[in-house]
């Protein structure tokens, strides 16, 4: 059942990225370019999404467990640490360079564009190398 849930959720997510045109790097960069010909669309995409998630999550997280899973898998909400700040800062720089964040980059693969394929491969490489270094550091810390 979790596979069906994930498939439908993915479908909705991909449609949402396409309908809102967030797959278009020009639209994203024109949002970030407040000093240029500003296109505020992205703000309404996030606003529309949060208008659904904020009340929805509030209700869902009051339930003892999800429908098809024994528990909720939730990240920490507290402790703002240097890794969070540095990571978010780096992510923003990469996002601003190409106008692609992970969702739209992945969705853009369906266009068959080789440059987007390159972006996604490098993204996975960067993610994995960082994960590996973090694991090694954590392992050393417990010795």
């Amino acid at each position: 059942m979790n596979i069906v849930v994930a498939l439908i959720a993915g479908l909705l997510f991909g449609l949402g990225l396409a309908v809102s045109q967030m797959m278009d790097p020009a639209k994203v960069l024109n949002f970030l370019d407040v000093a240029g010909a500003w296109d505020p669309s992205l703000m309404l995409v996030m606003g529309g999404a949060v208008a659904v998630t904020m009340p929805g999550f509030y209700v869902i997280l009051k339930q003892p467990h999800p429908l098809f899973s024994p528990r909720f898998f939730l990240p920490y909400v507290g402790h703002i640490d240097p890794a969070l700040l540095g990571g978010a800062a780096l992510f923003g720089i990469g996002w601003g360079l190409a106008g692609l964040c992970p969702g739209p980059a992945l969705a853009g693969l369906v266009s068959g564009n080789g440059d987007i394929v390159g972006f996604v491969l490098m993204m996975l490489l960067g993610y994995r190398i960082t994960g590996y270094l973090e694991e090694r550091r954590a392992a050393r810390a417990t010795l």
Binding site: L15, G56, S69, L84, F91, L97, V110, F119, L125
Partner: protein
């Protein structure tokens, strides 16, 4: 290379709401957060049931995007790449490192984290919006000479 785009409030709100609904469904059904960097990035190391839901989500996402891209009239959705290959590769790498280190991207922190009113996610979203804005200002107006 810079392409002008129009403000599209209706499709933005509609698409945004669909992304929000996707996140609701995944949390209510499976208890998972719809953060793309984590779902896809951790696919490389996931095994068994943890791998299969990530793959199903990814296949769904690709299917949804493909359906809209190829079934709507030409020009409905354009992908105007704004960077050449070397910059795309660099940007992809930096996005990968940053989203792993910062534990999330626009969806995990921006849509789901803010939806949970998480101080970490609200902070992360403000930080990546700020550095992205500065990056665009530098590349378009300081180095690029404006337009």
């Amino acid at each position: 290379m810079m392409v002008a785009t129009e403000f599209t409030p209706v499709s933005a709100l509609l698409g945004g709401a669909m992304i929000g609904l996707s996140a609701l469904l995944l949390l209510a059904g499976s208890g998972r957060i719809a953060g793309i960097s984590g779902i896809v990035g951790n696919m490389l190391t996931a095994r068994g049931a943890d791998l299969s839901w990530r793959m199903a989500f990814t296949i769904g996402l690709l299917g949804g995007a493909a359906a809209w891209l190829y079934l709507t009239p030409p020009g409905t959705l354009e992908l105007n790449l704004q960077a050449g290959l070397p910059l795309m590769l660099l940007a992809g790498f930096v996005v990968g490192v940053g989203t792993r280190l910062g534990r999330g991207c626009t969806s995990g922190h921006g849509v789901c984290g803010i939806g949970r009113v998480s101080p970490r996610s609200i902070t992360a979203t403000m930080v990546f919006m700020l550095t992205a804005g500065i990056t665009v200002y530098v590349t378009r107006h300081l180095i690029g000479g404006g337009a």
